[in-house]
Amino acid sequence: MVVFLTIFLFKRGPEKEIIDLLKSHVLLSIKGIKLLNKYIDNKSSEILEEIIKIENKGDEIKKKAILNLYKAFLPNMRREVNYSIELLDEVLDNIKHGALIYELITFELDNVVKEKCKLILNISLNILNSLYNLICVLEEGGDFKSYINNIKLGEEEIDNIYHEICKYLINVKINSFWEGKYLCDFIEKITEISDYIEDGADELKIIYLNYGDEDN
């Protein structure tokens, strides 16, 4: 009986593979955000290329995970796992598009706006770490609520910073339509990162609510 339980409780096969892919995707996003943060200070083409490469790697991981999903998990879990993979990919997409838009900004970013953008990225980094831990909980067990809570609080904080930036921008002098558009697009792209992280975490939360320990 013990041998039977050991085999079935610890042999993880395709599920483990998908969890590992999810984790590596989040790690790529963490790397991407760190690079974007650097890119805001130093517009180097190498950093931009690295960000694009990371996004391509993320695409590959997404494809692999979605293909493997057919033989992993229980069917009624697959919808949530699939959504979470798609949403995580949006995080990398936003990092890349944010970087590409930032490349088009030819003027020097206002210091206040720059610092707030960097703060948004730092909070996003923090909640990405929580998302990583959340995925580990699916695999190893443990407290789920504190990580979800951290993600929700981080996302709220980013929303507030976004509104502060919007209020501040009203008084900032903009020279052309395109300058304004690119600046707004860049801010929106980096703000949306946390939305996708939160949405991805919510999908994992549904799995946890269906299968997790309700007393936890």
């Binding site: 993880r12 599920e15 969890i19 009624n76 909980v137 067990g141 320990d213 007393d215 936890n216």
Partner: protein
């Protein structure tokens, strides 16, 4: 010649009941596995068939009980049971085929029936869902105590539903089949043939019912469904060893209540349970009364 025809009719009725059990009760064994969509129906029925036939090797315990409960007319009892089971299957009323068969047998032969044994069987009908409930409560609480991760739970469910499905299929062969056929003869070969009819019923009509039941169950709570099914399987297996014909459906309901109770007494819809229990009381009572009335009419015609 007339006796031969009557015997053949009794045999056909028994096999027909086995066929209906296959069509109807496959969901008890395979519902969760089909709902999980992890295995093809063909493979599941193959596994199901093997366990049903294995169960027929242990069918003599229950067969002995059913064959000794009455010593009178069994042909009419089985025909009536067959008709009632067809109606309840058609109307999708969740009552036990065991209760209908045993009650029809006793009702039609009340003067010769072993009432003491019948009382023991009724006792088993009451205790088996309670045992399943206690087991499911304990197993579910135990799983919670282990604090296993979601990934491990998925593995447990994926392979566990095969184990519990196999156990329920084994019980179909060792308990349901001898209930339907035991009154004819307590013979392993007969149970084996009955097992083939049961598998045929599962192959031809079992898929639809299993899909409906299974997908809905798995959508609700896969771990709970597995624990309820496993507990019911164990409870019925225990009663089979004592030769008691008990219902898997009733045991599963007991198992579901047990899982529900782990989340607090308020989560169980007691009004629904009351209706189900009322059905468990009314169904055998109805079969008993109808059987007895038919016996009275039959006796008046003969004499």
């Amino acid at each position: 010649m007339v006796m031969k025809i009557i015997e053949l009719l009794a045999l056909l009725s028994g096999l027909y009941i086995a066929f209906v059990i296959g069509a109807n009760d496959t969901a008890n064994a395979l519902g969760t596995a089909i709902g999980s969509k992890l295995f093809s129906y063909r493979n599941l029925v193959l596994l199901f068939g093997i366990f049903v036939l294995l169960g027929t090797l242990n069918a003599k315990n229950v067969g002995h009980t059913v064959s000794t409960i009455v010593s009178g007319d069994i042909t009419l009892s089985l025909i009536i049971a067959g008709i009632i089971i067809s109606i309840i299957t058609y109307k999708k009323i969740p009552i036990s085929t065991h209760q209908v068969i045993v009650s029809a047998l006793v009702g039609l032969n009340i003067s010769s029936a072993d009432i003491s044994l019948f009382s023991k069987i009724i006792g088993s009908w009451i205790i088996s869902p309670i045992l399943a409930g206690m087991l499911s409560y304990s197993i579910y609480e135990l799983i919670k105590k282990f604090n296993i991760s979601i990934l491990q739970k998925v593995q447990l469910i994926k392979y566990g539903i095969l184990l519990s499905g196999g156990l329920i299929a084994y019980n179909l062969g060792s308990n349901d089949l001898p209930t339907a056929l035991g009154a004819l003869s307590n013979n392993t070969y007969l149970f084996f043939v009955g097992g083939l009819f049961l598998i045929l019923g599962a192959l031809l009509f079992g898929k639809g019912v299993s899909e409906t039941v299974g997908i809905n169950i798995v959508k609700l709570n896969p771990l709970g469904a597995f624990v309820a099914q496993l507990s019911a399987g164990i409870a019925v297996f225990v009663f089979t060893q004592f030769g008691m014909p008990v219902s898997t459906t009733q045991a599963i309901i007991g198992g579901i209540i047990g899982v529900g109770l782990t989340k607090g007494i308020k989560t169980v819809k007691w009004k629904t349970i009351l209706y189900i229990v009322l059905g468990w009381i009314l169904a055998p009572a109805f079969a008993l009364i109808v059987g007895h009335l038919i016996e009275l009419i039959k006796n008046n015609i003969y004499f």
